[in-house]
């Protein structure tokens, strides 16, 4: 595969060299700016606003970057092909502060110790759904010319289900990490929290991978130090892998305010939002199902991760007994549990009920004279955790609901 990649890079460069960028392109663009620009009406209110500071700080940032890069020493270290284990930090002589503070990753399924005073930025997103550099990583900025990062991904989600070969892991990693140019099978071995892994070292960068509990973990150290391996080993010796605590659903960062149903919630925006197009009347409308044929009254989010969220609300008719009414019209069967016997849940401070069955989680809650219905249709093992994370973002605003 390496030969293929080398050939790809070489041949693509040759193809690209066949392009002939016009030497007069800038003049063409300038002419377009003049030609295309609409007459601009400028309203001047006393002193003109100051120009953006962006070019100034960009220049400063660029200069700083150049200085940083320029000061980075190239540190090489022969890769030891012997099996190695991270040293016990208490027994290792490293010119580095003691690792005394424990950080528990909120998403990646591990914990690690770091020096007091280190700046830790927890991961906020799935590694495979990262939208910005490092948002899938937990980042420990030590301030001592060493930045330690850790992340993990579910092997099934990464398309590596049932595959443990170095080659496949290597292939997966190669799309984002180059393993210092050393195939994983040829990298030195390392043991992290009792699990065998691989480690590669190159100038200013160390990269280790280990598989545990169906997850692929990646730990890196970017540095400008003469003792990077010792520092890496010190960090690695404090790692506890807890794949069972990892979060496999994406963070929900975008807020949706329903123009129809009197609530807002957050979701992961991948273009799957479908706002309601009509009001919900559970007495007339068929029960919510997976067909998508009767989704008009529901605000829905297709996540693309085997989970579809639906939500709606309706005015409660006068004089009805809510449990019986829900059982009859909203969710006949309610996962085979009458509402009065369902587990309790609190949504935006209101007491409600929740039922779970094989492919759905559904909750009902009353607020401001309205019945709210929140539904997750899924094919996931962590549906309840995702549903709870979603529910935690819900604000009920019955006063904003559209009325018939």
């Amino acid at each position: 595969m390496t030969q293929l990649r080398d050939r790809l890079e070489r041949d693509l460069r040759e193809i690209a060299a066949g392009a002939h960028p016009s030497p007069s392109a800038w003049e063409s663009i300038l002419a377009r700016l003049d030609h295309d620009a609409e007459p601009e009406v400028i309203l001047v209110l006393a002193p003109a606003p100051s120009r953006s500071k962006r070019p100034v700080w960009l220049a400063v940032a660029a200069a700083a970057l150049v200085v940083i890069i320029g000061t980075i020493a190239v540190v090489t270290r022969a890769v030891d092909d012997q099996t190695t284990s991270p040293a016990d930090p208490d027994e290792t002589t490293v010119d580095f502060p003691n690792l005394t503070t424990t950080f528990v990753s909120p998403r990646n399924g591990f914990s690690i110790k770091h020096p007091d005073g280190a700046e830790v930025t927890p991961a906020t997103q799935l590694l495979d759904s990262s939208e910005q550099v490092d948002d899938g990583f937990d980042v420990v900025e030590t301030g001592l010319a060493a930045v330690f990062k850790g992340a993990s991904t579910d092997l099934r989600a990464a398309g590596l289900d049932g595959v443990s070969s170095d080659q496949r892991v290597d292939e997966y990693l190669s799309f984002d990490y180059d393993g210092c140019g050393v195939p994983r099978s040829e990298q030195a071995e390392i043991t992290i929290d009792g699990q065998p892994g691989r480690i590669a070292e190159c100038p200013n960068h160390i990269e280790a991978t280990v598989v545990a509990g169906g997850r692929l973990y990646v730990f890196t150290l970017s540095h400008d130090r003469s003792d990077p391996r010792a520092v890496f080993d010190a960090f690695a010796a404090t790692i506890d892998l807890t794949p069972e605590t990892a979060v496999n659903f994406p963070a929900m960062a975008t807020t949706f305010v329903s123009p129809t149903n009197g609530f807002s919630f957050k979701y992961h925006d991948r273009g799957g939002l479908a706002p309601a197009t009509e009001l919900w009347d559970p007495v007339i409308d068929p029960p919510a199902d997976t067909s998508g044929a009767h989704d008009g009254p529901f605000d829905g989010v297709e996540t693309g991760y085997g989970a579809y969220f639906k939500a709606a609300s309706t005015e409660i008719p006068d004089g009805v007994a809510i449990d019986a009414w829900v059982d009859e019209y909203v969710s006949p069967g309610g996962c085979s549990v009458p509402r009065s016997q369902q587990a309790e849940i609190t949504i935006d401070g209101q007491a409600g009920r929740i039922a779970e069955c094989a492919d759905r989680v559904e909750a009902t809650v009353v607020a401001g004279g309205r019945l709210y219905f929140f539904l997750l249709l899924h094919s996931r093992s962590d549906a309840r955790a995702w549903f709870d994370a979603w529910v935690a973002t819900i604000d009920l605003t019955p006063e904003t609901a559209a009325v018939p």
Binding site: D11, A25, I29, D34, A37, V41, D128
Partner: protein, 162 residues
């Protein structure tokens, strides 16, 4: 007191957007044309797309935090649309009059990949972008990009080594 004035367009001598666009042009233009050409095999189309992208950036300059990143996303997005338009016209890329197929065995195989596979392969192995960046450019999950890369590489390996 407020005054109102009307002007007909940008004055390169006084519009700082033009100066900054010029700086971006000097850094990125040729590279973007080569990238677009590697996807489209058409000098004219590549130039047009990249120039359109610069004009768009000029218009939206104050809304854009990272002009270089925005330029790459815009160029790739426009190339992707151009490929889709070609498909809608039911014309094979190399059969278009304005398309001059590079004399390359790789190109002959590359054009047989799906558009997204081809774009992913070119961005990864010519552009050098990691899958997460490609995902942002193509507005799809990184896992999907990796899937395109895996399938694209498998096809290329099979065809080139046949």
């Amino acid at each position: 007191m407020a005054t109102v004035s009307v002007r007909s367009g940008p004055d390169p001598a006084t519009d700082d957007r033009v100066a900054q666009l010029d700086a971006l042009y000097r850094i990125e233009y040729a590279g973007m044309v080569r990238l677009a050409y590697t996807l489209l095999a058409s000098d004219a189309e590549a130039e047009e797309i990249v120039q359109d992208s610069f004009v768009e950036i000029y218009r939206r300059w104050h809304e854009i935090l990272k002009p270089g990143a925005y330029l790459r996303c815009t160029v790739v997005s426009r190339c992707r649309s151009a490929l889709q338009r070609r498909k809608m016209r039911a014309l094979h890329p190399v059969e278009e009059p304005c398309v001059s197929a590079p004399a390359s065995e790789l190109w002959d195989v590359l054009i047989r990949l799906s558009d997204d596979q081809r774009i992913a392969v070119v961005l990864r192995y010519y552009g050098g972008y990691p899958a997460s960046d490609i995902a942002a450019m193509l507005e799809m999950p990184a896992a999907t990009v990796r899937s395109h890369l895996r399938r694209g590489l498998a096809t290329l390996k099979k065809e080139l080594e046949a």
